[in-house]
């Protein structure tokens, strides 16, 4: 069965302290891996789509990478406004979409 596991469940960082969030997946034929940001009381906001192993994408302080088994979301010198829950999702070859439980990131000033 397709599975998406995100770790850690929660992460507290000081402003400027870089770190990485992990998304491990098992899926029958990966079509795409997605990263979303979700603020409290709001819907998920699209960040990145990765299609194949070795691919990397960047946006401001965020960089997403992909291997055949996992994806990392690297956060460089985070700011308090980066605090949110980060969700990973995979789309399988049969088009099933499965989300992880998310990593709740808190960045303290």
């Amino acid at each position: 069965e397709d599975q998406v596991t995100q770790s850690p469940e929660a992460l507290r960082l000081q402003e400027g302290e870089s770190s990485s969030l992990n998304c491990s997946y098992t899926v029958s034929g990966l079509r795409g891996l997605f990263w979303y940001r979700q603020d409290p009381g709001k819907g998920p906001e699209f960040l990145f789509t990765l299609y194949s192993a070795g691919e990397e994408k960047e946006k401001e302080r965020l960089k997403a990478t992909l291997t055949k088994k996992e994806s990392f979301l690297h956060i460089t010198a985070p700011k308090p406004e980066d605090s949110a829950t980060y969700l990973c999702a995979v789309q399988a070859a049969n088009n099933d979409m499965r989300f992880g439980a998310g990593t709740r990131l808190t960045v303290k000033p």
Partner: protein, 115 residues
Amino acid sequence: DTAVSQTPKYLVTQMGNDKSIKCEQNLGHDTMYWYKQDSKKFLKIMFSYNNKELIINETVPNRFSPKSPDKAHLNLHINSLELGDSAVYFCASSRFVASGVETQYFGPGTRLLVL
């Protein structure tokens, strides 16, 4: 100019009632979805729908039914509401692409509380 909008934002109702949640997208997308996010924050897909096909997650009770009056709207009807239906419901939409990889854009959610 919200891309994906939902109404109402909050819905409090009694067990046994029938309710609807509306969703509209102005992105010109072909496919729309309904998700349920439970108290543990897992997002689970309930339905995906385009003008050709309705795909239903087999775990969704048949008390839930999507209805699409046109390509820009997908409403969710829920009959005989139960306590366990309390959750946040998200609508999403995506554009069909030949590669089959569909980036989905989400609405703000409807918080349903069944008493």
